[in-house]
Symmetry: D4
Subunit: 207 residues, 8 copies
Amino acid sequence: LRKGFPEVVYCEGKTPQQAAEILIRLAETTDASVMGTRSGVEVYHLVAQMRPEFQYDEQARMVYLKRQASPPVGHVVVLAAGTSDLPVAREAVLTLELMGACTTLIVDVGVAGLHRLLEHLDTIYAARVLVVVAGMEGALASVVGGLVDRPVVAVPTSVGYGSHFGGLAPLLSMLNACASGIGTVNIDNGFGAGYLAALINQLGEST
Amino acid sequence: LRKGFPEVVYCEGKTPQQAAEILIRLAETTDASVMGTRSGVEVYHLVAQMRPEFQYDEQARMVYLKRQASPPVGHVVVLAAGTSDLPVAREAVLTLELMGACTTLIVDVGVAGLHRLLEHLDTIYAARVLVVVAGMEGALASVVGGLVDRPVVAVPTSVGYGSHFGGLAPLLSMLNACASGIGTVNIDNGFGAGYLAALINQLGEST
Amino acid sequence: LRKGFPEVVYCEGKTPQQAAEILIRLAETTDASVMGTRSGVEVYHLVAQMRPEFQYDEQARMVYLKRQASPPVGHVVVLAAGTSDLPVAREAVLTLELMGACTTLIVDVGVAGLHRLLEHLDTIYAARVLVVVAGMEGALASVVGGLVDRPVVAVPTSVGYGSHFGGLAPLLSMLNACASGIGTVNIDNGFGAGYLAALINQLGEST
Amino acid sequence: LRKGFPEVVYCEGKTPQQAAEILIRLAETTDASVMGTRSGVEVYHLVAQMRPEFQYDEQARMVYLKRQASPPVGHVVVLAAGTSDLPVAREAVLTLELMGACTTLIVDVGVAGLHRLLEHLDTIYAARVLVVVAGMEGALASVVGGLVDRPVVAVPTSVGYGSHFGGLAPLLSMLNACASGIGTVNIDNGFGAGYLAALINQLGEST
Amino acid sequence: LRKGFPEVVYCEGKTPQQAAEILIRLAETTDASVMGTRSGVEVYHLVAQMRPEFQYDEQARMVYLKRQASPPVGHVVVLAAGTSDLPVAREAVLTLELMGACTTLIVDVGVAGLHRLLEHLDTIYAARVLVVVAGMEGALASVVGGLVDRPVVAVPTSVGYGSHFGGLAPLLSMLNACASGIGTVNIDNGFGAGYLAALINQLGEST
Amino acid sequence: LRKGFPEVVYCEGKTPQQAAEILIRLAETTDASVMGTRSGVEVYHLVAQMRPEFQYDEQARMVYLKRQASPPVGHVVVLAAGTSDLPVAREAVLTLELMGACTTLIVDVGVAGLHRLLEHLDTIYAARVLVVVAGMEGALASVVGGLVDRPVVAVPTSVGYGSHFGGLAPLLSMLNACASGIGTVNIDNGFGAGYLAALINQLGEST
Amino acid sequence: LRKGFPEVVYCEGKTPQQAAEILIRLAETTDASVMGTRSGVEVYHLVAQMRPEFQYDEQARMVYLKRQASPPVGHVVVLAAGTSDLPVAREAVLTLELMGACTTLIVDVGVAGLHRLLEHLDTIYAARVLVVVAGMEGALASVVGGLVDRPVVAVPTSVGYGSHFGGLAPLLSMLNACASGIGTVNIDNGFGAGYLAALINQLGEST
Amino acid sequence: LRKGFPEVVYCEGKTPQQAAEILIRLAETTDASVMGTRSGVEVYHLVAQMRPEFQYDEQARMVYLKRQASPPVGHVVVLAAGTSDLPVAREAVLTLELMGACTTLIVDVGVAGLHRLLEHLDTIYAARVLVVVAGMEGALASVVGGLVDRPVVAVPTSVGYGSHFGGLAPLLSMLNACASGIGTVNIDNGFGAGYLAALINQLGEST
Ligand SMILES: Nc1ncnc2c1ncn2[C@@H]1O[C@H](COP(=O)(O)O)[C@@H](O)[C@H]1O
Ligand SMILES: Nc1ncnc2c1ncn2[C@@H]1O[C@H](COP(=O)(O)O)[C@@H](O)[C@H]1O
Ligand SMILES: Nc1ncnc2c1ncn2[C@@H]1O[C@H](COP(=O)(O)O)[C@@H](O)[C@H]1O
Ligand SMILES: Nc1ncnc2c1ncn2[C@@H]1O[C@H](COP(=O)(O)O)[C@@H](O)[C@H]1O
Ligand SMILES: [Mg+2]
Ligand SMILES: [Mg+2]
Ligand SMILES: [Mg+2]
Ligand SMILES: [Mg+2]
Ligand SMILES: [Mg+2]
Ligand SMILES: [Mg+2]
Ligand SMILES: [Mg+2]
Ligand SMILES: [Mg+2]
């Protein structure tokens, strides 16, 4: 079942010991890649003592063991509006890579500087699927969705303040986007966006 | 550009005359399919006087002219939790068909009667993409998302009352689904769900 | 005081008789322009019986008497994302004209079709002040704000459905815009936007 | 009055000294069981110095003195969707036990893995009352409610992030459940759920 | 399965024809009682033409066919705070009766007139289960919950205005009630409250 | 002006130095009582070094200098639903005393234990004005409001969790109270409640 | 009990027949004044057939029978920000008069035209209690509260649009007013404001 | 492009090292002023080691390098309702100064003490643009907007508690202001207000 899919552990709300234990057990009982999201570095330290082949990404707060052999397929372009959106974008990128998708990350292309976005038009047009990560007002999803005829996965982030209400502003923005072809995931859910985009990207491969 | 895509008119907030006029002009100036969403039957009557080849779907409240020649491809399964969700589901189905997707509609499979859902497991597993349309608490998205390893497009509907707050309950439910691989669109946005699912479904065709 | 400013009556919540009476009295006791916002056509009919020089704009739902002699000054560009935003945009335009501003209206430049917006770059760059009227996710304010170094007045509209919550989505969007130089007014408040833009535009005149 | 009911102290917002004092006084002035909810371990340490027969449950954050002699009656099944919901579930279980209910706890049966839930069908069907503890989207309540013809007490938890809004998502989900026979308590209110379920369970005993 | 339970049709969002058809089919294919909630009188007229043994309750907006033979059991007391809460209370009462519960309805016992409530103390103490129906601030649930050691099912109603927000005020009130033993159902959900109370009441019978 | 009124400093958001300085200056430049609300003990320490006649109330978090000579007048009864509401109640009491009102504090009279409230009926009936302080669902305001024909000032507190939303539940409860004669102040605003009650109480004195 | 207080019927949600019946019965069984709030004119017509001494106020939507003999006492000043707030203000005034308070109504004193408010300073300073009725942003309550050292009863109205959210804006404004001595009632609750103000006003009379 | 405009870095969500690096690079690659908003003092320390000509404003939490030569133009008056609003007001003032606007700051002019505001009438009337910074209920914007015929930029602050909801109360207040000519920016967005006011102020200069 779910061949080639990584095993995923959501580490938030688990003690480092609990998280590490599950990750190691999964590494031993399956031959899939293993990933722990929302994980502090202590989880990694515990895991690495037993299994030094695990890696840790500080920005994405992900501990993972990459195992797949086959080369990455397709092309998923992940766009992050600002540098503050990078942790979420990076979580998406890592998830995509662990699920076998060829991935390009483009940062700092918020709509307030449209020219910076338009410089990447070729890469954007070449994508099979796109992931748009944006806080503030989340307008990037609409603009990108209007540029392409490909599925866009939109991730609102909690980057903002005041009437941002912890990500509510870009969440509503993305759900109400005037461009078609956009599916939205939960605020800050880089993992979920990467997972969905990987499933979509996979469809482009003939089986 | 956007070869094979239908031209779409959002009729809400336009007079029947305005809507009809745009639909007819699009039918004349392009050779794509033409569809008008959220359209009353008066729009259809106006359009049909000039262009009798247009059709009207009362449940989906859609007026449309289907033009594509090539047979439908792939397989999108649309699941509606209850009969009250049918208008939204039907809007998704019609959009999918106008965009060339082979589509199956399954109705009345709310999670309160799990056996009714599980009777359709074969169809569900055979889908390339799934659209889940649900009001009330919107739990169907999570259950279906847990059953398949395919992209799921979730559409919350405004079917409910009281603390449903016009679709807010299933919207939050779908955004927080414990299953992975789900992208959510706006409340009652059957068109948007169909459009996104069609884009995804299309990726399964080799070009 | 307030030389050259029109007298304004908010007609909502008043009977046509009450509204008409106030409008006529203002026309008689002042020599300013007189305008009634959110006014049904019955108000106009009552007013016009007594004062045929009044005019009525059905789209803006405004009844008004234009009196100023001096030619319009400056340049305010009003951009409406979609045709459904036109009533609000038109209310802004009429207000601007009654307050002596030279005004250009650009419609149907939603960000899902960026090229349509960019076709108007010259007009946009030539503006002294800009008013952006947008429903759905309201992303147009951010994009326009990023293009210009001029004050932008943003007006969210109630055009949308579902998680739009009557204009909340574009309102939050505009308040959280990643571009600087944007001031937001209440949902559907075309009058308020026009008034503020006219005050700003006026500053560009040497006194 | 309220024969056989435990005395309950809500420790949040009290100093450890205050809480300990009340618990000890209740232990001395009544012959009922005594329980302190939402209590840190310091309360226990203070209480145990005077009354070593008190116990402490770290997960449930409950300090308690179990006194009833009669064997537990009936059968309440407590289901927790994920391991992160365990503290709330455990608070319910302990409350049930102190109120004399025979209780079974089933964990990690979230609807994303339906098979894990269905493995417990026999236990579920054997229950007199059920308590469903779930965060995320709270869909478990609907699914369980659909499986049984027994009263279900639903407890939304604050486990989640983003548009979860501290438990609002599963709360609305449970209130809008498409299955009948579900009563909902406050977010994270394991005690309240246990208390209500114990009252219901008690009705199954002939008096 | 579900022996002795009525068949239930939720008529809102169905045409009278659709609703009537389902009700008649259920009357013919099962030997259970049949009830249609949220039903206009036209549904009844259509049903009664074919099946004159159906009845209609205008206040509860329920069309139903009562079939059970065995006498009602137990005792459920339904309390309605004000006369405006009667439609919801009546929906609960009818549901309870169709599910075989012996039911007493007490009206106009809002907490602003405590003496009126306390006049009914004997009946209240005699109940096996209680249903509290209240709009405004919904305080009745807390007061009743404090008086009894029996399960209380609380139903907030949409009776109120302003900051009542369609029932949100009593809903939050009931979820946060300082008395224990209260389970809450959706706003105006008299059917759901009756259903849950009937399930609980049934437990008091020895099987 | 405002003869006999204390000078009030809101210390939140000021450094202890800033707060202390203003308090001392007021003590020196006026002959009124001086009070600092929401003040940590450090403010008191700083003030007391210079002006040892200042006092500090830890529960109310108030530093104050009581100066009025005339004996307290009238009778304000402050009722606190639970012990966790005491800080807010105490802030009200101290404010009342500094404004010259004769005040009685009654604690732990939540509506879940109606008998405890009714034991104080004589005191309650003897009040000229009443202040009701309650968290959770805030039902105490309705019950007290129903008992008396005197003005009631209601203060919702942030005591609660989950769907309490930081005091929103009792705030809405109090605003929607089914009893008449209740005025509500902001969540946790013990000072505001005391101030308003003191103004009302004062009216009972003939001038 | 409640000597001199009118009997009050809340007519919303009652049929004209029901409302009329209760009003007439109260007129016959008590010798107090009788008032029906939120009442359509049909109620009046039904009542007046039997009891022609009843009166009807169309603006306040109140049907009433005024009976008290003693002259009005004290002085309550009711301020309405705009003419659209008049229905609510008038409901307050009528309630005050039926409860024996001497009342002055001041209209059209919104804070955008401060001079119009300040023209009434003498009347404002002469008040024993004040009622402030305001929609839009409700700032009038703060300004009036700052001018006087008397109790202020604030009534937010639903007059506004967009982000007004049916009165939420002025409600929050009044609850957060930077002036002290303000108690707030529910949105549009002119009756409640009048009732509370009358109770306060009454205290100024020596008994 | 954007001649004479400062380069702006938003430091929140960046490490001090990252922020400092960008600030220094901007100082070296442009000859504009450079400013870093929402910056801790550590950023300043890092920057000052390399570039001692940078300055730090602790209250505004801004690190900046002022470079423009030309004397400030126009006149922007910034009004802060209370001292707690000073950090936001100061952020606006500094932004205005770096953008070349002649600026006056007036503090402690909340509407509860109208006389303090009116003492500054001359300065207020002399302004070309005004910025109003206010927490609590934000009424100052309406009052100031009513006094002047100049553009007003309103900034709600998060100063408040309870039903303030982190600035929501004054935000809604300002959006619904009954005075015309007000544009609102996000809660606590002193920078954004200063930026917009500077753009407007600049228009008053002839080019
Ligand atoms: N960051 C995340 N956000 C949402 N869901 C996640 C995240 N990481 C993992 N999950 C989901 O959580 C499940 C694992 O949860 P658990 O069994 O509690 O570790 C996986 O199957 C994922 O679908
Ligand atoms: N008033 C009601 N509120 C909520 N759920 C209801 C109501 N009436 C019926 N139901 C549920 O709706 C189901 C029937 O829905 P349907 O199949 O659409 O008629 C029944 O199984 C009931 O559990
Ligand atoms: N407009 C109103 N808003 C809120 N409460 C009201 C209103 N009018 C009457 N009431 C209250 O409702 C009670 C009468 O309700 P009822 O018995 O349903 O007619 C009276 O005792 C009043 O306290
Ligand atoms: N305090 C602030 N609030 C909102 N936006 C800001 C603030 N400070 C700077 N900005 C904007 O953020 C942009 C810089 O963001 P960044 O590139 O992440 O440093 C600038 O162009 C400003 O328009
Ligand atoms: Mg697209
Ligand atoms: Mg899946
Ligand atoms: Mg700009
Ligand atoms: Mg069930
Ligand atoms: Mg109880
Ligand atoms: Mg009372
Ligand atoms: Mg005052
Ligand atoms: Mg003005």
